[in-house]
Symmetry: C2
Subunit: 405 residues, 2 copies
């Protein structure tokens, strides 16, 4: 794409109330626009990153047998009342319409279970794994962390319905692996740790995936050798023992929760009457698991963790383009641009009438991992530089393209 | 995909309040689930159709220079107040939170213009064409037409910002062509007519794309020869004259509005202060156009128009799968299933333990345009039948596959 045709510009002025690094960089780079506290729109560059993240997650969900759906945002109070989760005193983040006739979903356990009643009769219909990329609404009292804590945000939520605890445990392990793949592919695998966390009503522990960052809202205690952590919220001698962790091996760290997985067991199914006939014709409640990743939060975490003082440094897997082609004299980039496009390589071509300094600053801010510069100085060749390195190399077009194929 | 693994089933019982044919068929086939009046979730088969429709539209939007974004649902009242469209007395379909601090977007003219203020300074920044696939909320008093009139629905909304009326008119024509391509590709081109409709405050006419259907809520007067219609709402002698239509050539028809395109001119930009510097440094308001297609409504229209008494008949372009492979004896379809998958052909393989009758009924209901049947009777060959035809043909696997490549 020609940068002269991209309608967004990098910005110098920011909303006054914006304090989070992730939001500042994403706003400056023209990735997002702020609508309200905790509410952001995705502009073309940001949407490209979001879609790349979505595709990584989709591939990993499909690999473990997930079937994609898209549930509505508007929800029926009657369904939530069955589990006593409609009451504002119980769930204090609901957005509801004025008349209280509908709520805008902050999660989907109840609607998924209710929908499943029509499709699960017998043990033969289980297991079923259903997921979606869907817009959640949560009336968070504090929304000052940019895209890390949204009041509106796209979530991948996966739900497992299994016959028994064994099936739930097995799939839970598969999701853990899938999540590890996702965070690895998204470039933050080495900073992300499987973490014991609060289990709520139905199970002793849930688990979180926590990415080390000074901007994190969570505090975890990490055993780096075991690559295992425990959330401060549940840190007791008993919990440590059950998690197989020893106090002396742990360091206190700030971290961002980039994913969580949760076993609900049969609690909700019993209340909502979601049952299946077993081999003997007896009705049993299904076992429910619930597994979330916030896409905006993951994008923001990548920005928090991988940016430098010049701007964002996208991993190749989620970058809006593979190459940022910068020409320093008008028209000098045309030939290479066409060659790259012909090879099907996604390239942002800076063909604007701007100074070299402005172009380099914008390229650093936008953070595409590979920068190609053509100028009179490169004389028919191209200067190749990785975003996170300082060394440049002048090579032929063919060699530069060859590395990308 | 193996049908035995698809978690949805075809359904025989329907919600009591469901009267619309499109919703009945989509519910029976397991394409959607009803959450509330006018609120539907998309199940795996339905989501596949939705994504196919989305991709057709995306291709046509990109061809005319559209840049994809994703705006938030939650909106800032202050932005809408600038145009006097926050007041419930002016816009009576808002869903707002209890405290009136945010509204859930029913359209995006104001947020798009507000966002554009950060990116449009000079005439060089125009034109800009921005579109999205985004969830709209409209508190419709009557929502009894299934997916034809949703209270929550995904819309493709495109906005054009141009320097002047000439630019607006030119792009308006390009959108018209793009919309004609979309409806043609979606299989309803021959029943869909460009229609003069009410223009509102800023322009004499808007235009709708109306698809002939007895279930349509609109009445249009159609000149079949000219392939041009006028909405009953604006039918006056003067309007007929301006549209170039003669009363005697028109037939009265019921129709579904599947798209609409609208010229706002500078009305909103002036109120909101969205201006650009022209060649002489003078500030001018941008010209706005707005262009919508409801994806669920388009899906529902295809169902209304192309189904028969046995079920849905999807056009190949939007069908959830290209082939429905039905085996009548256990395991007989495995070989052909693998061959089709290896060729990258999207196939739903009915490997269930069901009767032939049940399988055929489900295949007709689900409506994949091509049915392959393997049984002992076909003896190593396959019986090929188109959904909308009655004649069958028994051919070799290679010949059946060859037709699909």
């Amino acid at each position: 794409m020609r940068q002269s045709e991209l309608y967004t510009k990098t910005r110098k002025t920011l909303p006054k109330d914006e304090v989070a690094k992730n939001a500042k960089l994403l706003l400056k780079g023209g990735f997002v626009h702020k609508e309200l506290a905790g509410v952001y729109s995705y502009l073309p560059l940001g949407l490209r990153v979001l879609k790349n993240i979505e595709n990584i997650i989709r591939e990993e969900m499909n690999k473990i047998g997930g079937q994609e759906v898209l549930m509505s945002s508007m929800q029926d109070p009657a369904i939530w009342e069955q589990n006593d989760r409609w009451d504002d005193k119980k769930i204090n983040i609901w957005f509801k319409d004025k008349e209280g006739k509908t709520g805008f979903a902050w999660s989907h356990e109840e609607p998924i279970l209710n929908m499943m009643k029509h499709h699960v009769d017998s043990y033969k219909d289980l297991p079923a794994y259903v997921y979606q990329f869907q817009n959640k609404f949560r009336n968070e009292p504090r929304a000052k962390s940019g895209l890390l804590r949204g009041r509106e945000f796209i979530m991948k939520d996966l739900y497992s319905l299994t016959r028994d605890q064994v099936g739930l445990d097995k799939f839970y392990g598969e999701v853990r692996n899938a999540y590890e793949n996702i965070f690895e592919r998204a470039g933050i695998g080495d900073k992300t740790y499987f973490t014991f966390a609060s289990g709520g009503l139905f199970t002793k522990f849930s688990h979180e995936f926590q990415t080390l960052s000074s901007e994190g809202e969570d505090t975890i205690y990490l055993d780096k050798k075991k690559k295992l952590a425990i959330n401060k919220e549940i840190m007791t001698d008993e919990a440590l023992k059950e998690a197989g962790l020893a106090k002396g091996d742990l360091s206190e760290e700030k971290a961002i929760e980039v994913g969580n997985i949760f076993k609900f067991g049969t609690g909700y199914s019993e209340k909502m009457g979601v049952t299946f006939k077993d081999e003997n014709g007896k009705e049993n409640p299904v076992f429910l698991g619930s597994y979330g990743i916030g896409l905006g939060r993951l994008m923001a975490t990548i920005v928090e963790v991988l940016s430098d003082d010049k701007g964002i440094v996208w991993p190749e897997s989620v970058s809006p383009f593979r190459v940022h082609l910068v020409e320093l004299e008008k028209g000098l980039g045309e030939d290479l641009y066409k060659k790259l496009e012909n090879k099907g390589i996604d390239v942002l071509y800076d063909d604007r009438d701007s100074s070299a300094g402005e172009k380099f600053n914008d390229a650093d801010l936008i953070g595409i991992p590979l920068r190609f510069v053509v100028s009179e100085k490169t004389g028919g060749k191209v200067e190749v530089k990785k975003r996170e390195e300082n060394k440049e190399e002048v090579v032929t077009y063919d060699k530069a393209i060859g590395k990308l194929l």
